[in-house]
Point group: C2
Chain length 359, copies 2
């Protein structure tokens, strides 16, 4: 604490990201990264010529990247906003649309950055409890609000909300912006992009960090009506005119253009998720349905989630444990390669046997 800090800096509780330990041979299943490298096309864009041009400012509007994203979704480029990670895009979304008199609504169990942005920008919020079976229960969101945001699939639970439920909410909720945070949509869900033409207050946020294997490159984007995109541009141009560096723009564009590789990686993750869930259930875990690249899994009664996470860590496998109400019985396990999941399962079996006997 320093006397020079602003009030908001004194009182805010910053977000705590999953750790990024530098340990050799670690199996890292704690931050939902892709188990596969980015498209081979990404490496091809990094030429000496590109490096020589780094002395110039990048395109402040990421024009070609936005066009590439627009083509993928069959939209006009005016529907696309790009930023330095979907976290930044979300932060700008909170500033642009959620500083309202009514509270922002979001799930009680959800992405941990939402309440932090509320504190940072002085936004009132109201947490809507997930249902007993960890679904969103969107009917509860039909109340006075200054905005609505939820991930789909939700994080860290992994459950998908059907498009019909989102559409029904949008029909009733026309006076505030509804943000669907689709960081994990490519692993089996249907994107709300198809609703954009009908609902001018819908904003869809996506990231290159998961299905496009570019977490290290920090690129995210939002899709919505050009009037919403203009609001985001105004915030961006009041904060940092050039949020995306030249190489990030090229790398993300290359990844977006390589559809075959992308489809292939998503299919592999989905297949591995299915076999992993089956195996965990056989080992006595309670696993929530997941359409994401991670699963929420509750170990059998004789061992706590926290203990299991510790024991896995001793074996150089890290998964995410949340010491939070309602989910502290679960582990969030990212889907790795088949080989990584086999190693995980071998270790889990071993830990279950040891703890079943010895403790």
């Amino acid at each position: 604490m320093s006397k020079y800090w602003s009030e908001v800096v004194r009182t805010i509780e910053p977000y705590v990201p999953g750790e990024q330990p530098q340990v050799d041979g670690l199996i890292k299943l704690n931050t939902n990264e892709s188990p596969y490298p980015p498209s081979p096309e990404v490496n091809r864009v990094l030429s000496q010529e590109v490096v020589d041009r780094l002395r110039f400012y990048p395109d402040p509007n990421a024009t070609e990247l936005r066009q590439s994203i627009a083509r993928y979704y069959d939209l006009d480029a005016g529907y696309v906003f790009a930023g330095n990670s979907s976290d930044e895009v979300l932060a700008q979304t909170f500033m642009a649309f959620f500083q309202q008199e009514q509270p922002l609504l979001f799930p009680d169990i959800t992405y941990g950055f939402y309440p932090v942005y509320c504190q940072l920008f002085g936004i009132e919020s109201k947490k809507i409890p997930l249902t007993e079976d960890f679904t969103l229960g969107l009917e509860q969101y039909r109340q006075a609000n200054g905005g609505i945001i939820f991930p789909n699939p939700n994080a860290p639970t992994g459950q998908l909300t059907p498009l019909e439920a989102i559409e029904a909410l949008l029909v009733d909720n026309t006076e505030s912006v509804v943000v669907v945070d689709e960081a994990y949509i490519d692993f089996g869900g249907a994107s709300a992009v198809s609703l954009l033409e009908r609902f001018e207050n819908l904003l869809v946020v996506q990231t290159f960090s998961k299905s496009r294997a570019l977490a290290g490159m920090r690129v995210g984007f939002a899709l919505g009506n050009p009037a919403l995109i203009e609001g985001l541009e105004r915030v961006k141009n009041s904060f940092n005119s050039y949020p995306l560096d030249a190489i990030a723009q090229l790398a993300a564009q290359a990844a977006m253009e390589d559809r075959d590789y992308f489809d292939q990686c998503c299919r592999k993750v989905i297949a591995t998720r299915v076999t992993t869930i089956d195996a965990l259930v056989q080992l006595g875990f309670d696993v929530l349905p997941s359409q994401a690249n991670f699963v929420m899994a509750k170990p059998p009664a004789h061992i706590t989630a926290k203990h299991m996470a510790e024991k896995l860590r001793e074996r150089k496998i890290i998964v995410r444990y949340f010491a939070k109400p309602r989910i502290s019985d679960y582990l969030r396990i990212s889907i790795g390669t088949d080989e990584q999941m086999q190693q995980l399962l071998v270790c889990v079996r071993e830990i279950l046997e040891l703890t079943g006997v010895a403790e």
Copy 2:
């Protein structure tokens, strides 16, 4: 304008950066980029291995880059904060320290982003006029304030404030944070870094975009007492935990480590500035003293700055013109290579002759 925008988005006037036109053969002297490419070491860090690792999140704390910056300035790494451009670092600085009851003080003619940040974060400000000869006149800053910020050298005037004047201000001003924005310090000025040990309320902000030729890579940093750095970290971790992508961290580190190349480039820019100023004065320009990689130059009376800028543009040379009080008689010309400046001077001479006769 959309009914969904927050109040601040409706009313804010975003910053307008210098243009980045994509025109073949253009001589671009409008945004103070380096005329020389980044250190050759930068290209060497971009390996296939680095690309493969992009699937992982980058180091959220940019540890090695911060250590590299710390070594350069002979500081502890706890004195260093890094971000996605010095614009982002400045924005976070405004949030962390300047949201106070008293107004923030800055020069009336200065970096155009300061008043934008004030609007974005609801910060009261008071503009202190530059003196008649365009120096800061720091004695005017001895009044109640919630913070002080100024570039050194100032932008867009290019004049250097001596370290002794900054030190004298810091002796008197101990209750608020003083930020010295040193984007252009490497072209002949003395950094306020040497004062950090004595003044816990001093923050020095620098960028890789100018002297280190990485405008396209978006890396900036702040140097200050660890308590100030912690304040910035708290804002960063409430906004975007991983602001610097993996490649930006490596590229900036490579540029920071290559001191010989850096010294060489700075020396060349300084030498070219000297000859450019001499030549412009001979052509009848009034040129402000500059310790930056640009000069503020007022054309002879028979042609306006605006007209000169237009005529240069027709000849594929762009310089910056500000339609603002007190500086609208001047052009801001970035220092390019000797060859580029020769071409500029040939064109200027031609324009002066044509307009002197024909208009």
